[in-house]
């Protein structure tokens, strides 16, 4: 099965704030910009709960004092969300085994890493498509080596 793991900050995300301020200065009206580490994983059936526990106990990935960790059963971008892929980056596309802090992630047969951005309007709703598109073209993705997945 394929799923996505989303790891975001619960403390203020200064990088997202800087990006949002830059977009606003460029006239791209983003009310809130959220940034996440996004992993798309293929895992053996029945390993979902074991994977979640393994991730939560791996302090290099998830620190409960600063991170939020969520497993998403739909491994594709939500509305007003863009995943930035670096297709030729070995760090983003590595083969198994997937070992973090000396422990293998159980049941994982494939792992891809992305930086994900979620754009909201001033009312807290998903930003319109044209705003997302402009933000991606202007700042969030350099297509010379990155690919925006929406």
């Amino acid at each position: 099965m394929t799923l996505a793991v989303e790891i975001s900050l619960i403390i203020p995300d200064n990088e997202a704030r800087t990006a949002q301020a830059t977009l606003q200065r460029l006239g791209i009206d983003v009310g809130e910009l959220q940034r996440m580490s996004l992993w798309r994983l293929e895992i053996d059936a029945g390993e979902r709960d074991a994977l979640l526990e393994a991730l939560k106990s791996t302090e290099t990935i998830y620190n409960p004092n600063k991170n939020r960790l969520r497993i998403r059963d739909v491994a594709s971008p939500d509305r007003a969300e863009v995943w930035i892929d670096e297709p030729d980056s070995p760090a983003a596309h590595t083969g198994p085994p997937y070992i973090f802090a000396g422990r293998a992630l159980p049941g994982v047969t494939r792992l891809e890493r992305f930086v994900a951005w979620r754009l909201m309007d001033r009312g807290g709703k998903p930003a319109p498509d044209h705003v997302v598109e402009r933000a991606v073209e202007t700042l969030l993705c350099n297509t010379a080596f990155q690919r925006a997945i929406r």
């Binding site: 760090a91 202007t138 990155q146």
Partner: protein
């Protein structure tokens, strides 16, 4: 006007963004070749920047490299003045993070007056790690191709330090073709004898490119740091040992200073 006065009348502005960290050595290298140099902080006005005869974007981590290396700084208000300087034909040099900023603005390679990136200095290969390594840059285009190299010998070798995490030129095949056909790859990595080999390229940079210029040849984005190998005592060869005990010899500008001599020559032309 004497040569000295003429030199003194030329002013170089070194832009400093939050996170820039190589402004002092860049300023010293400029002053070593007789150029008046000021640091221009990000709070400066566009009018402040426009009075300079040349601009340098030094190395560091502008805006902490948030989003991507150089991406936020490429949208800083001071970049309007950098675009104007480039358009006016003034020399504009980006070193390391400054090169990343220039490529994010689209000023290099600068095809079709782009205002968006057409290429990238992507994470180094293999592994996307920070690499600190002494390198040799070889002038790979006719000296007249770029304003900074017009006073150099063909095939000149310049020592420098590669010190970055994102220095691997990356672009689409179509853009790479234009980079080649337009002689934009002014500097390539080479070994100490000037032979271009895959082993001399520290990071998998496409075409082995270390420095790239724009269409007009007045903007240069250079990934390695020539200012960190610009005095005899800094060199990795036997020169510092030969200069031992001779302060004047050890403090003689040499090696990477050639880039700044090229800038001075361009301003005095």
């Amino acid at each position: 006007m004497t040569a000295t006065l003429r030199k003194a009348s030329m002013r170089v502005g070194v832009l400093v963004f939050p996170g820039t960290n190589s402004e002092d050595e860049t300023q010293r290298a400029c002053e070593a070749v007789g150029l008046f140099t000021d640091l221009i902080h990000w709070t400066a006005s566009l009018q402040d920047v426009r009075r300079y005869d040349a601009l340098i974007l030094p190395g560091g981590f502008a805006y902490e490299d948030r989003v991507r290396a150089g991406a936020i700084a490429a949208h800083d208000h001071l970049i309007d003045a950098v675009r104007q300087a480039a358009s006016d034909g003034k020399p504009v040099l980006g070193i390391c993070n400054g090169a990343q900023i220039l490529i994010e603005t689209g000023l290099v390679p600068g095809f079709d007056d782009a205002r968006h990136p057409q290429a990238a200095f992507a994470p180094n290969a293999p592994g996307g790690r920070f690499l600190c390594r002494h390198v040799t840059m070889k002038l790979n285009a006719p000296p007249a191709r770029c304003i900074f190299t017009q006073s150099m010998q063909a095939g000149a070798l310049i020592p420098a330090w590669h010190s970055n995490r994102e220095g691997r030129l990356s672009a689409s095949p179509a853009v790479l073709d234009r980079i080649v056909s337009g002689d934009h790859g002014v500097f390539v990595y080479a070994d100490e004898r000037g032979t271009c080999t895959p082993e001399a390229v520290p990071n998998g940079s496409r075409l082995g490119i270390a420095g790239m210029t724009n269409v007009a040849g007045n903007v240069l984005a250079l990934m390695p740091h020539p200012e960190r190998d610009a005095w005899t005592f800094m060199h990795m060869d036997a020169a510092p040992e030969r200069a031992r005990g001779d302060t004047n010899a050890a403090l003689t500008p040499s090696g990477g200073i050639a880039l700044f001599e090229g800038l001075a020559a361009a301003l005095h032309r």
